[in-house]
């Protein structure tokens, strides 16, 4: 099973599309690893630059993340950058399925919880500890002093099918055994 814990990259925008995650001009690559330098190559938004990706392991964002193209290169661009978890208010269907098909996670949380996470944690050094079996995230802000360190425990739900895909490490082996 993949690692779903680590430092958080906050992207405060809805409708981030797959062209912004990995532009079509890189789809001529035939290995996943070749996509590594190009994650978010065309993402233009206030407060974002590609150097912010460095060291991050989790993305927290708003609604309809991953809309547009079916390209699985989008999850792969995350995967080769060791980002296996995206948390959002909502996902486009194909992107969401692609994540679980790769044994990665695309987890929806209610808008109010996402709002709270942005309010409390964006702009701080934030880490998520994920307990997949228990269905629980722990968000921890690591402040410059003890007074500003705090954390929240947030439950999440993934469907039985998604859980099976994560446990199996993806859809190909699962399907080949079963069908």
């Amino acid at each position: 099973m993949k690692n779903f814990s680590g430092k958080v990259l906050f992207l405060d925008r809805s409708d981030i599309n797959t062209d912004e995650i990995i532009p079509a001009k890189y789809l001529t690559e035939v290995t996943k690893e070749a996509l590594k330098p190009f994650l978010f190559d065309d993402l233009k938004m206030d407060g974002f630059s590609v150097d912010k990706i460095k060291g991050k392991r989790v993305v927290v964002t708003r609604n309809n993340f991953g809309c547009g193209s079916s390209r699985e290169h989008a999850p792969w661009a995350f995967e080769v950058n060791d980002i296996n978890l995206v948390i959002a208010t909502g996902f486009a269907r194909i992107f969401r399925q692609n994540m679980f098909n790769c044994g990665m996670m695309a987890v929806e949380l209610p808008e109010s919880v996402i709002d709270m996470l942005f309010d409390k944690y964006a702009g701080k050094e934030t880490v998520v500890e994920t307990d997949f079996q228990a269905g629980k995230f722990v968000f921890i802000a690591e402040g410059v002093s003890d007074e500003v360190s705090f954390s929240d425990e947030i439950p999440f739900v993934v469907s039985e099918f998604d859980r099976a895909l994560v446990n199996a490490g993806g859809w190909v082996d699962y399907a080949d055994k079963k069908y």
């Binding site: 532009p23 001529t28 079916s70 699985e72 269907r93 692609n98 098909n101 039985e160 993806g170």
Partner: protein
């Protein structure tokens, strides 16, 4: 309780219902192109699973970058070409025979009412125009489709959109779908099927229905779907005449793939298009939509007519009607890509290609071309393109470029004027 067309298709194709509302369904066709399929093939090979579930049900084309532009795209083509030969995939379309997948495969008669189809391409929803359940998927789903002939989906909740009234002259299915996406938003139909019904849809040609269904994904939908009728039968007749004694028999058979009157919908919407003006997008999302009249001060550098949305013969005819006897503005580069060799050939025979060339357009071979900035027609930083394509995302047609989506008629008029404008100025 009644069922929607999508629910009927799912019921007829159900293989397994492993958890909750997860439906594993049997596939009637798996479509492939050279951008998302090569990694599926190499991954299957690496897993020791270089097999195909049924070579007759797999159709493949090289369409996104053709002819190959560099060594990498040549390799992508080669991987698909070698794989098709290795597995006896007869319906493989290489250069000279290849065209944009969502125009080519229907033209070859590969879609039937009631079919289930996947492809590693989000605009696979186009094929719902035939009363099929057709969905875009990623490479892993494609791999499993190739290997096992199945795919997993959630239960197909449906939004019914009843399109009624009468379209004004100069207003087309592209304007209808753009306006609709503007109304329901880019995630208005996420995880849902959109059923397009109503007199306007029933009167549309198959080409226009494909345009409508093509952009269902731009509202987040899994699939757009129309009921099969006599227009569907007429389109498919060259391919099905051996299977049915008459068109009436075919129609009777196909009408099992329409929704029951008492089917349950997530939402039902009436949409009167009688007062609709030509539409155009602004900004970087397909739901940023205005009437053309509000955008006439936008100068354009390039006009692109083509793609799986609007590169069919009907689209080229509409644009040529506007362009006939006129020249495009000196400040505009006009590019037209007929979607398939048949479209190209018919357009030649009808004199449409000459109209485009006389007007000053560059005519390319059938390809996805400029639509996604992978091969020709890429924009420079700050340039603006009026396009009949389906996506206006930031960077889509080249970094720093702006794409405005519109109908072929509006695109042709815009090419003549040099700025976004209504085709009625140049028509008749």
């Amino acid at each position: 309780m009644g069922k929607t067309i999508a629910e009927k298709i799912f019921k007829a194709h159900l293989v397994d219902n492993p958890f909750g509302d997860t439906h594993v369904i049997k596939l009637d066709a798996v479509f492939c192109h050279e951008i998302t399929t090569p990694i599926a093939i190499t991954d299957l090979m690496a897993r020791g699973k270089d097999r195909v579930f049924d070579p007759k049900k797999i159709k493949a084309v090289i369409d996104h970058v053709t002819p190959a532009k560099d060594s990498k795209t040549a390799t992508q083509g080669k991987i698909v070409r070698d794989w098709a030969r290795r597995h006896g995939i007869i319906d493989f379309f290489d250069i000279g025979k290849n065209g944009v997948c969502h125009a080519l495969f229907p033209e070859q008669g590969f879609v039937r009412p009631g079919y289930t189809i996947i492809m590693g391409d989000s605009h696979t929803c186009t094929h719902g125009a035939f009363g099929a359940f057709a969905a875009g998927v990623g490479t892993t789903d494609l791999e499993v489709g190739i290997l096992k002939g199945v795919c997993a989906f959630k239960a197909p909740e449906t939004i019914k959109i009843n399109i009624i009234g009468e379209l004004k002259p100069g207003v087309f299915s592209k304007d209808v779908i753009l306006n609709l996406i503007g109304k329901i938003g880019v995630n208005g139909a996420t995880n849902k099927v959109i059923e397009f019904t109503g007199n306007v849809v029933y009167e549309m040609s198959m080409e226009s229905r494909m345009t409508l269904c093509n952009m269902a994904i731009e509202a987040g939908a899994t699939c757009g779907i129309c009921y099969p009728d006599i227009i569907t039968v007429d389109y498919l007749w060259p391919f099905i005449s051996k299977d049915y004694a008459s068109k009436e028999d075919a129609l009777e058979d196909y009408r099992k793939w329409i929704s029951d009157p008492d089917a349950t919908y997530a939402q039902v919407m009436d949409f009167d298009v009688s007062y609709l003006d030509p539409q155009v997008t602004f900004g970087y999302k397909p739901d940023n939509v205005k009437s053309v009249g509000e955008m006439t001060d936008v100068q354009v550098d390039q006009v692109y007519i083509g793609s799986c949305t609007n590169g069919r013969l009907e689209d080229l005819r509409i644009a040529a009607d506007v362009l006939k006897g006129k020249k495009i503005a000196d400040t505009v580069r006009g590019v037209v890509s007929p979607a398939t060799p048949t479209v190209y050939s018919n357009a030649l025979e009808e004199g449409i290609i000459k109209i485009f060339m006389d007007a000053g357009f560059c005519v390319t071979n059938p390809t996805c071309g400029a639509c996604l900035g992978m091969s020709n027609g890429v924009l420079a930083e700050g340039e603006v393109c009026a396009a009949t394509t389906n996506r206006n995302f930031n960077g889509r047609m080249g970094r720093g470029g702006m794409v405005h989506l519109m109908s072929p008629a509006t695109a042709a008029a815009t090419a003549i004027a040099g700025h976004i404008t209504n085709s009625s100025l140049f028509n008749g």
